[in-house]
Amino acid sequence: MKFYGEGLPGVDPVNLVGKLIVIEGADGSGRSTQMDLLKDCLEGQGHAIVNVGLRRSSLVSEELNEAKKGNVLGEITRSLFYATDFADQLENRIIPALKAGFIVLADRYIYTLMARDIVRGADRDWVHSIYGIALVPDLVIYLRVSPAQLVERNFRKKATLDYWEAGMDLGLSRDIFDSFMRYQKLIQKEFSLLQREYDFLVVNGNRSVRSISNEITAKVEGLLGI
């Protein structure tokens, strides 16, 4: 394994024998569903799996949630909170699991964080440099779903759109539906740029759960040499 950039002090990626698989995509893209199916499949074959995700770090998650509720964070501070959360997960969950030979399934990774930051005006080089601490995953699956479908799926889960997933803080529109469509298009555009640079597997998420999971399973089995 290797790091994207400077990496983490004291961590030699040579010792990390597990595999890191990332699933990226917007809210409603089907990440959780696909992760569950993949986990079942891999566990069925005798692999040990660990799930990690954004904002689940014990270090800053409470504070980050509080701050998001109160809209009291500056842009740079917000970005750094997420970066801290990520670094904490990377060092305290991902790396130990990889050292022990687990397969780590990551629900989102640095790409969502970078896209969110850049769409909000963050300096691209700054963001790239910070996330130089991240490990290069063995596989990145990007579930690309059209904004129109995303909206439907979000509404099916609950009858409102999330303020942040609609990019309402950006003032794209006074209307949350409108804002959501615009914001998701901006994020997808950013992902297209990131995809070329970071070599994602782009999966058409506009299909049935079964057909998506077949494609993912085939790719993962290829990776694991099954």
């Binding site: 014990s58 270090l59 800053v60 504070e63 509080e66 701050a67 964070l73 501070t77 801290t84």
Partner: protein, 228 residues
């Protein structure tokens, strides 16, 4: 980073750096008093004081959850909160902003913990450089004596215990401070520190500080504009 950090602002940023026990906080406080008593707009901020980040920092320190990288990032988050909400807006409003410790503290401490120096400089790339940075150059043994003579309880991270330099907190602290001191020396030209001799009397040091500030800045510009 972006070019806006070099744009001249109505206010001015003065930072003090140095080891714990170097006397920098005393000197900055006296500077603050002098400026305030002259009726100037002054704001003081110190390292590690953001309310939002405080909880996470103390949680992390208590449970020893912090690695060099997360330690660095969390302190950067604290700094950026103060920077975005206070330091920068006040500079735009024409204040004299006095910072007890600035990004150089992170450059020194985090590098001693193993973080890449270039990564650190990139991380803090959003922050303007001070108009004046005073470095209180106090010999290690004097600084240590001031801190340790009260036999205080040295906290884990404060003593650099995570570095494994020594199992004894006081020894660890000394070794840790020595390395930080070396980092400061290595960067003082890069960042144009104004070095001050921390061994002379408090009054002498303060006279020098006031002289330098008075020469560098046109102080009457920073008077209060509103009538109180």
């Amino acid at each position: 980073m972006n070019t806006s950090i070099s744009v001249e602002l109505p206010g001015k940023l003065i930072a003090v750096e140095g080891l714990d026990g170097s006397g920098k906080s005393t000197q900055l406080y006296l500077l603050k008093r002098w400026l305030e008593l002259r009726g100037l707009k002054v704001f003081f901020t110190e390292w590690n004081s953001s309310v939002i980040v405080k909880k996470a920092t103390s949680k992390g320190k208590k449970r020893q959850l912090l690695t060099p990288t997360t330690f660095s990032l969390i302190h950067c988050t604290d700094f950026s909160d103060r920077y975005e909400q206070q330091i920068l807006p006040l500079l735009k409003a024409g204040y004299l902003v006095l910072c007890d410790r600035y990004v150089y503290t992170a450059f020194a401490r985090d590098a001693v913990r193993g973080c890449s120096r270039s990564w650190l400089r990139n991380l803090y790339g959003f922050a303007r450089h001070p108009d004046i940075t005073f470095f209180f150059d106090t010999p290690l043994d004097i600084a240590l004596d001031r801190i340790l003579s009260g036999r205080p309880q040295l906290k884990y991270h404060e003593a650099g215990m995570d570095l494994g330099l020594s199992a004894v907190p006081y020894e660890s602290f000394s070794l840790f401070q020595k390395r930080i001191y070396d980092e400061y020396l290595a960067m003082k030209d890069e960042f144009s520190f104004v070095s001050l001799d921390g061994t002379v009397s408090i009054e002498e040091q303060q006279a020098k500080v006031r002289e330098i500030v008075g020469l560098k800045l046109d102080l009457p510009l920073y008077r209060w504009k509103t009538i109180t």
